[in-house]
């Protein structure tokens, strides 16, 4: 074993090839197979009789799928914007030479270590109108206090946004803070000498200069949006009604509980197309930069 280990030539390509074979089989093989399935009427057992794009037609006639997609867009925009704004604000404040900075940072970041299942359960308990925040406010005398979004079909989606911002704002803060700490001191000097107000300095000079950092935050958050599943299961199970359904849950439900392999495959392919479309600008700039 030892001798074999040492006798090999310096050949990174072998390792690359092995690694890529795994990626190709599991990731791209799965996609090809899923695409084939999406062209069939498979229910429980895969059948390989191609019937064309029927499943896609059915998919886009399915109300729940449409609602799921719309929910994902609304959730995604609010979550990404909210997390960025909150996270960047925290980063800026933490960069103001505050005392107990590491304590604050620890508090802001710890949710990232908590699973989405526990996150969802905690927020479900906190926002339960009968027992949680609303009940507390009323019990201490604020009778008119109402926060029943979790149980309202038109608002439940926003409770998911709140819980997700809670989970990820610290992440953005840390990334942006690291970016801020990397900023050249001369730039700060220049800003002070010009007498530019602080808020304008951040908005017009500092943040624009950190575009790559912010872009990578967006990409990270975006992949969370498309994969969103655990949080929904723990917090709302897609309800009330279908008001918090999302594509990932649609796919998993139709693969297994609804036993409709064909339709679930079509949904998976659409999820993939969607995520590639969203990420295309990032990949484009990333690889133009590299080459």
């Amino acid at each position: 074993m030892k001798t074999w280990f040492n006798r090999q030539a310096f050949r990174p390509d072998i390792t690359v090839a092995a690694f890529f074979a795994v990626v190709a089989l599991f990731f791209y093989g799965s996609i090809v197979w899923t695409f084939v399935m999406s062209l069939t009427r498979s229910t429980l057992v895969p059948t390989y009789q191609i019937v064309g794009f029927d499943q896609y037609v059915k998919l886009f006639a399915n109300q729940r799928w449409l609602v799921s997609c719309l929910n994902m867009v609304i959730f995604g925009v609010l979550y990404i914007v909210g997390t960025l704004v909150f996270g960047m604000l925290l980063a800026v404040l933490a960069d103001r030479r505050i005392s107990a900075e590491s304590l604050f940072r620890t508090v802001f970041l710890y949710p990232l270590a908590v699973s989405l299942v526990v996150t969802g359960l905690s927020w479900r308990w906190l926002l339960d109108p009968a027992n949680g925040l609303q009940a507390l406010m009323r019990s201490i005398g604020w009778e008119a206090f109402t926060f029943d979004w979790l149980t309202r079909p038109d608002r439940a989606l926003y409770t998911l946004v709140i819980a997700s911002i809670w989970h990820s704002a610290g992440l953005v803060m840390v990334i942006v803070l690291a970016g801020l700490r990397g900023i050249d001191n001369d730039l700060w000097k220049a800003i002070r000498m010009e007498g530019i107000p602080l808020w304008r300095a951040y908005l017009q000079v500092i943040f624009p200069g950190m575009r790559p950092v912010i872009a990578s935050c967006v990409v990270l958050l975006m992949s969370e949006v498309i994969r969103g599943y655990d949080l929904i299961i723990a917090m709302t199970k897609g309800g009330p009604g279908i008001s918090t359904e999302m594509p990932a849950k649609f796919a998993v439900d139709f693969y297994f509980a609804r036993v409709n392999l064909g339709l679930a495959s079509a949904a998976s392919i659409m999820m993939l197309v969607l995520s590639l479309l969203l990420l295309a600008p990032y990949f484009y700039s990333e690889f133009r930069r590299r080459t």
């Binding site: 799965s30 908590v114 359960l121």
Partner: protein, 297 residues
């Protein structure tokens, strides 16, 4: 990226007026409350006896704190007909997480180093394909993965669930390491190569020892991800290896007898403890890892 003490003197100065300074702290404290509230709520209620929860609301402080709910959550809460608490789930999670983290981190390091060393015009294409793989929603791959694993006899086995975590984590760990190794001076590898060291030998004896920081960082990220996984465990682990996230949701959804939110909350906390401990102990690495991964990426 590191802030030297000198830098601290010249950079953003508190030239804000006093009132703004107070406003800043108020905002930070309110934000801290927002972040602490959910877990404090869970902690408080896990310490209340059930009668106290029925009488008051969830946000009152426990009058007579007790650890009974913790004990129940640990060893007697029911999932289905079995009533052994989250204990078996926590043990299963440890058994799954430890090897999955070690393997996916080391394999990621090897692959990342290979990709960084591999000079080829296809390198960029491979990088693109791997990066895209990172963003494939894994729900879309579940069914085919079930099929592949069942063909090799690993579906619903211990080895199977570890394997799935390694595979699904590999693009991520590989990219993190690759980004790190691209920044390592090429002379180090060149020198080893000149002396006739094999690729694996160079990696093992020269590259790994200088990678301690990034190894710790990636291992922590993988640990958090795998420990907290729900869906993969649900589908691939099998009865005997169900991780604690799955058992937790089973316990919370188990409606047997009177609902006991205090036990549910204690169970939720128990399952969150390991990652929180790792987070608090490794704070610096954790932060550095996230920042490094994102900023360089």
């Amino acid at each position: 990226m590191t802030a030297t003490p000198m830098a601290g003197l010249t950079r953003p100065r508190p030239f804000a007026p006093h009132a703004a300074r107070i406003g800043l702290y108020v905002f930070l404290v309110v934000s801290a409350a927002f972040f602490l509230m959910p877990l404090l709520l869970v902690l408080m209620n896990s310490l209340k006896p059930i009668e106290e929860i029925r009488q008051g609301n969830l946000l009152s402080f426990p009058v007579a704190p007790s650890f009974d709910a913790w004990v129940a959550a640990w060893q007697t809460a029911c999932t289905g007909l079995d009533c052994h608490g989250v204990r078996p789930g926590v043990w299963n999670s440890i058994k799954i997480t430890v090897p999955a983290v070690v393997i996916s981190t080391l394999a990621g390091a090897l692959n990342g180093y290979a990709l960084a060393q591999w000079k080829s015009r296809h390198a960029n294409l491979i990088m693109l394909l791997v990066t895209v793989g990172l963003f494939i929603p894994y729900q879309a791959m579940l069914y085919p993965t079930v099929k592949i694993l069942s063909n090799v006899g690993l579906f619903r086995t211990y080895a199977g669930i570890v394997f799935v975590h390694v595979i699904y984590g590999l693009p991520y760990t590989t990219l993190l390491f690759r980004n790190f190794y691209v920044g390592v001076p090429d002379e180090i590898s060149q020198a080893a190569r000149m002396e006739g060291a094999s690729f694996l030998r160079t990696f093992w004896s020269i590259i790994l020892p200088i990678s301690t920081n990034i190894l710790v960082v990636v291992a922590i990220l993988q640990f958090t991800g795998i420990w907290n996984d729900y869906l993969l465990g649900l589908i691939f682990a099998g009865n005997d290896n169900l991780p604690m996230t799955v058992q937790l949701t089973n316990i919370v959804n188990n409606a047997r007898g009177a609902a006991s939110p205090n036990v549910n909350m204690a169970a939720a906390l128990i399952t969150a403890i390991p990652t929180l401990v790792v987070y608090f102990l490794s704070g610096r690495y954790f932060v550095r890892g996230i920042a490094a991964g994102a900023v360089k990426g």
